[in-house]
C-alpha cells in the first residue's frame, strides 16, 4: 500500500521538503537571520551608493572604453562609504561612545513602544511623550537650582512624570471611552509639538538675552554625568536599567503578567478578573514614562537646550527599533544599539564620502524589512536553518 502511494505523484510534494532544523538554539538562529538581513540591506544600500556616486556616473559614461573603471569606481565608492560607516560606528572608543549616545534615547523610546505593544496597544505617541518629558525635565533642570544628585534626580522624575501624563491620557481615554490609541497618539504628538513651540516663545522657557526659541541649558547639577571626555552619559546606563526594569515588569511582576495577558487576549483576561482598562492605563503611563526618560536623555544628557527639534525623529525611530526588537527588552536594546551605530556611522559616512544621511534611513528600513521577513531571507540564503516557532507575532491587528 505504501509503495502505491509513493509511486503516485503526491499532490503537493515540494511544500513538504523536510524542514531544515538545526541544533542551534533559537536565539542563535534569530541572530543568524538578522545578520543575513543586515548583509542584504547593505547590498541594497550599495546599489544606491553606486547609482548616486559621481565617479561611477562618470565612468559609466565611457563604459565601452574602459568597463573596468566602472567596476572599480563602484567598488571603491561602496568600499569607502561602508568603511567610513564602520569606522564612524565602531572604530575606537570615541565612535563607540557616539554610537552608544545615539542609541540611548532610541532604547528608551523603543521600550516605550514595546511595552505598549505587549499590552496590545500600538503606541505611535513616543514622540509626544518624549517631548512632554523633555519639557518638564528641562524646566526643572534650568529653572531650579538645587544641590548635585538631588537636582538630577528631580529633573529625571519630572521627565518621567511629563511622559507619563502624556501617555496616561491615551490609556485613560482608551479605557474610558474606547478612543483608539492610534488616533489619540498621533494627535497628541502634534499637540506636544505645538505646545513646545509655544512654550519656547514664553519668558519662562526662553533663554535670557535671546529671542530665539531656545531654552537655557540645564544646570550642571541636573546633567547626567559623562563618561570621560565623551558625550556618553549616565543616561545610557539608565536606559539599560530601564530595559532590565521592563523585563522584570513584564516577566517577573504580577502587573506585567496582567499586561501581557491583556495584550494577548483581553477577553480571557477580563474573564479571569483582570481590569483591561486598568492595564491600558498602567501600560501607557509606564510607556509614557519610558519615553519621558528618553526626553530627559535629550535635555539632561547630551546637554542640549530645549528647542523645537529636541525630539528629532526619535519617537518614530523608536517604533522601528521596538519592532526590530520584536517587542522584547533585550531585542529592543540590541536594535537600539544597531540603529545608534548606524546613525553615528552615517554621520561619518556623509562626512567622508558625502553620502547623504537619507541613505542611513533607507538602510534602516531595509534591515527591518528583511529581519521581519525571515522567509524571504531564507529563500535567498538557503543555508540558513529554520527557526523554531518562527515569526513570533507582536501585535495581531487593530482589534488586539
Amino acid at each position: 500500500m505504501s509503495t502505491e502511494t509513493e509511486a503516485a505523484p503526491a499532490p503537493v510534494p515540494p511544500a513538504k521538503e523536510p524542514e531544515r532544523r538545526s541544533g542551534l538554539p533559537s536565539w542563535a538562529v534569530q541572530g543568524l537571520v538578522s545578520l543575513s538581513a543586515i548583509v542584504l540591506a547593505l547590498l541594497v544600500g550599495a546599489i544606491l551608493i553606486i547609482v548616486g556616486d559621481e565617479q561611477v556616473q562618470k565612468a559609466v559614461g565611457y563604459f565601452g572604453a574602459a568597463p573596468m573603471d566602472t567596476v572599480s569606481a563602484a567598488l571603491s565608492a561602496v568600499g569607502e562609504a561602508y568603511k567610513s560607516l564602520a569606522v564612524g560606528a565602531l572604530g575606537g572608543w570615541t565612535p563607540i561612545s557616539e554610537s552608544l549616545t545615539q542609541a540611548t534615547p532610541l532604547i528608551c523610546g523603543g521600550l516605550a513602544v514595546s511595552l505598549a505593544f505587549r499590552t496590545g496597544l500600538f503606541n505611535i505617541g513616543a514622540q509626544g511623550q518624549l517631548i512632554a518629558g523633555a519639557i518638564l525635565a528641562s524646566y526643572v533642570g534650568f529653572a531650579w537650582h538645587l544641590p548635585p544628585v538631588l537636582h538630577l534626580v528631580l529633573a529625571i522624575v519630572a521627565g518621567l512624570v511629563g511622559g507619563a501624563i502624556w501617555g496616561g491620557v491615551v490609556g485613560l481615554l482608551k479605557a474610558r471611552t474606547g478612543a483608539h490609541e492610534v488616533i489619540v497618539t498621533i494627535m497628541l504628538n502634534y499637540v506636544a509639538i505645538y505646545l513646545l513651540a509655544w512654550l519656547l516663545t514664553t519668558k519662562t522657557f526662553q533663554r535670557p538675552g535671546r529671542t530665539d526659541p531656545i531654552s537655557p541649558i540645564v544646570d550642571n547639577n541636573a546633567q547626567y554625568p559623562k563618561f570621560g571626555d565623551t558625550r556618553l552619559h549616565l543616561g545610557f546606563v539608565l536606559a539599560l536599567v530601564a530595559a532590565v526594569f521592563v523585563w522584570w515588569l513584564l516577566n517577573r511582576s504580577t502587573i506585567g503578567f496582567e499586561l501581557r495577558a491583556v495584550g494577548a487576549n483581553a477577553d480571557a483576561s477580563r474573564t479571569a478578573g483582570m481590569s483591561v482598562g486598568r492595564a491600558y492605563v498602567i501600560a501607557m503611563v509606564v510607556a509614557g514614562a519610558l519615553a519621558g526618560l528618553a526626553g530627559t536623555q535629550q535635555v539632561l544628557g547630551t546637554d542640549l537646550p530645549l528647542t523645537d527639534g529636541v525630539a528629532a525623529s526619535v519617537g518614530f525611530d523608536a517604533i522601528t527599533v521596538a519592532l526590530l526588537g520584536r517587542g522584547t527588552p533585550l531585542g529592543t536594546v540590541l536594535a537600539g544599539l544597531l540603529f545608534g551605530a548606524l546613525n553615528a556611522g552615517g554621520l561619518q559616512m556623509q562626512l567622508i564620502t558625502q553620502t547623504p544621511l537619507t541613505l542611513t534611513t533607507v538602510l534602516q528600513a531595509v534591515i527591518v524589512l528583511f529581519v521581519a521577513a525571515p522567509a524571504l531571507v531564507r529563500s535567498i540564503f538557503r543555508f540558513l536553518p529554520k527557526e523554531r516557532g518562527a515569526g513570533a507575532v507582536l501585535a495581531k491587528g487593530w482589534n488586539g
Binding site: 562618470k58 559614461g61 565611457y62 563604459f63 565601452g64 572604453a65 574602459a66 573603471d69 557616539e98 549616545t101 545615539q102 534615547p105 509639538i193 505645538y194 513651540a197 519656547l200 516663545t201 538675552g209 535671546r210 529671542t211 530665539d212 526659541p213 531656545i214 541649558i217 558625550r231 535629550q298 547630551t302 546637554d303 542640549l304 537646550p305 528647542t307 523645537d308 527639534g309 529636541v310 528629532a312 525623529s313 526619535v314 546613525n343 553615528a344 552615517g346 554621520l347 561619518q348 556623509q350 562626512l351 558625502q354 547623504p356 544621511l357
Partner: protein
C-alpha cells in the same frame, strides 16, 4: 553613450587646496531652500574663488550638532561655519576648546564674544520694510498678506519690517493698505506651524487671497513655497515677495509672480568670513547685514522691472537712504543689536 576616458581634470584655482572650509547645517539640511542652502552657497563661492577644500556635514537632529562639530575639528578645518541659532552652544564649546580654528555662526551670536567666533546676523527688517512699501504700492486691492512658519524671531523680523513698511506707505500716501496675517503691535498672526508642509502654506496664502490680499509675503521656508504657488495659481491677480534668497534664482519657476525678494545675504557674509580667514584678516566682531553694507537688500525686480513705476523705485531708494541715515527707524524688537 561610450565616450573616451577623460583625462584627469585639473581643478581651477587649487592654490589653497589644504585650506579646509567647513560647514555644519542645522536639522533643516542643506537643501532647505532657505538659510542652510544660502549659507552653503556662500561656502561654495568661497571655495571656488579661493580654490579651497570643502567639507560639509548635515545634521539630522539636534543630537548631531556636537558630533558634527567634533568631526569638523578632527577633520582639521581652518574655518567652521555653523548655520542657525541651534548650533550656538556646540559652536561656542568647540571654539573655546580649539582656539586655533576660526568659527562663524549664521543667525546667532555668543552671549559673550569669543575670540575666534564671528557671528553673522542680518537685519532683514530693513529690507522687509522696503518690501512692505513696495507691496503696498503695488497692491490694487488695498490688502497685502504675510504668513510665517513658526513664530520665531528669524521669521517675525521679516513680518515686522513688512508691516512697518506698509504703515510707512500709508502715512506717506495717506492710504489705508491693510496687512493681513501679521499684527506687529500684538505680535500675532498667521503661521503654518512647520516649514515642510507646502500644501498648508499654499492654503494659508489662499486664505489671505480670499480675504483680499493681492501681494503675499511668505516667510516659511519650503512651506512658504506654497504661498508662491498660490500666487502663481491666481493667474496674475496675485503677486508675491520671496525671502532669504532671490526667488528668481532659488525658485525660478515662480519668478513670474515675484515682485522681488528680501535677500538675506548669508552667502555673501559666509563667503566673506571664509575669505577673511584665508587672507588672514579674521576678526570676531559681529557682522550685521544691513541695507548699508548690503548684507540684506531687495533683490532685482526681474520680470517686474518694467511694471513697477519709476517713482516707486525711487521712493524705495529713498527709503534705503533714509534707513541708512537713520531718518527712518525700523521699530522691530527682534532686530539684531550690535554687541
Amino acid at each position: 553613450a561610450c565616450g573616451s576616458k577623460p583625462t584627469e581634470e585639473n581643478a581651477g584655482g587649487s592654490a589653497n587646496k589644504d585650506f579646509k572650509a567647513c560647514m555644519v547645517s542645522d536639522s533643516g539640511g542643506f537643501d532647505d531652500k532657505s538659510f542652510n542652502q544660502t549659507s552653503y552657497k556662500g561656502l561654495q563661492d568661497a571655495v571656488k574663488e579661493k580654490g579651497l577644500t570643502e567639507v560639509k556635514a548635515e545634521s539630522k537632529s539636534d543630537n548631531d550638532y556636537p558630533t558634527n562639530m567634533t568631526a569638523m575639528v578632527s577633520a582639521k578645518c581652518n574655518i567652521i561655519v555653523s548655520v542657525g541659532f541651534k548650533l550656538e552652544d556646540a559652536t561656542d564649546k568647540a571654539a573655546q576648546a580649539n582656539p586655533s580654528i576660526k568659527f562663524a555662526i549664521v543667525d546667532s551670536a555668543p552671549a559673550k564674544p569669543i575670540e575666534n567666533v564671528k557671528p553673522l546676523a542680518f537685519n532683514t527688517a530693513q529690507s522687509s520694510f522696503q518690501a512692505g512699501y513696495l507691496a503696498a504700492a503695488m497692491s490694487k486691492s488695498g490688502k497685502v498678506g504675510t504668513f510665517g512658519g513658526l513664530k520665531i524671531p528669524t521669521v517675525t523680523i521679516f513680518m515686522d519690517g513688512f508691516a512697518e513698511g506698509v504703515r510707512y506707505y500709508n502715512t506717506q500716501k495717506s492710504k489705508n493698505v491693510q496687512v493681513l496675517g501679521w499684527d506687529d503691535a500684538k505680535q500675532a498672526g498667521l503661521f503654518t506651524g512647520d516649514f515642510e508642509d507646502k500644501a498648508k502654506g499654499q492654503n494659508n496664502a489662499q486664505n489671505l487671497i480670499t480675504q483680499g490680499a493681492d501681494v503675499i509675503f511668505p516667510v516659511a521656508g519650503p512651506s512658504g513655497l506654497g504661498g508662491l504657488q498660490a500666487a502663481k495659481a491666481s493667474n496674475g491677480k496675485v503677486n508675491a515677495i520671496w525671502v532669504d534668497t532671490d526667488g528668481c534664482e532659488s525658485a525660478a519657476e515662480y519668478c513670474s509672480v515675484l515682485l522681488t525678494s528680501v535677500a538675506k545675504g548669508m552667502d555673501v557674509a559666509v563667503k566673506d568670513a571664509i575669505v577673511s580667514v584665508v587672507d588672514n584678516k579674521f576678526d570676531n566682531t559681529q557682522f550685521i547685514g544691513t541695507l548699508e553694507n548690503g548684507g540684506t537688500k531687495l533683490a532685482p525686480f526681474h520680470e517686474f522691472d518694467s511694471k513697477i513705476p519709476a517713482d516707486v523705485k525711487s521712493e524705495l531708494d529713498q527709503i534705503k537712504t533714509d534707513i541708512i541715515s537713520g531718518k527712518i527707524t525700523v521699530q522691530s524688537k527682534v532686530q539684531p543689536k550690535a554687541s
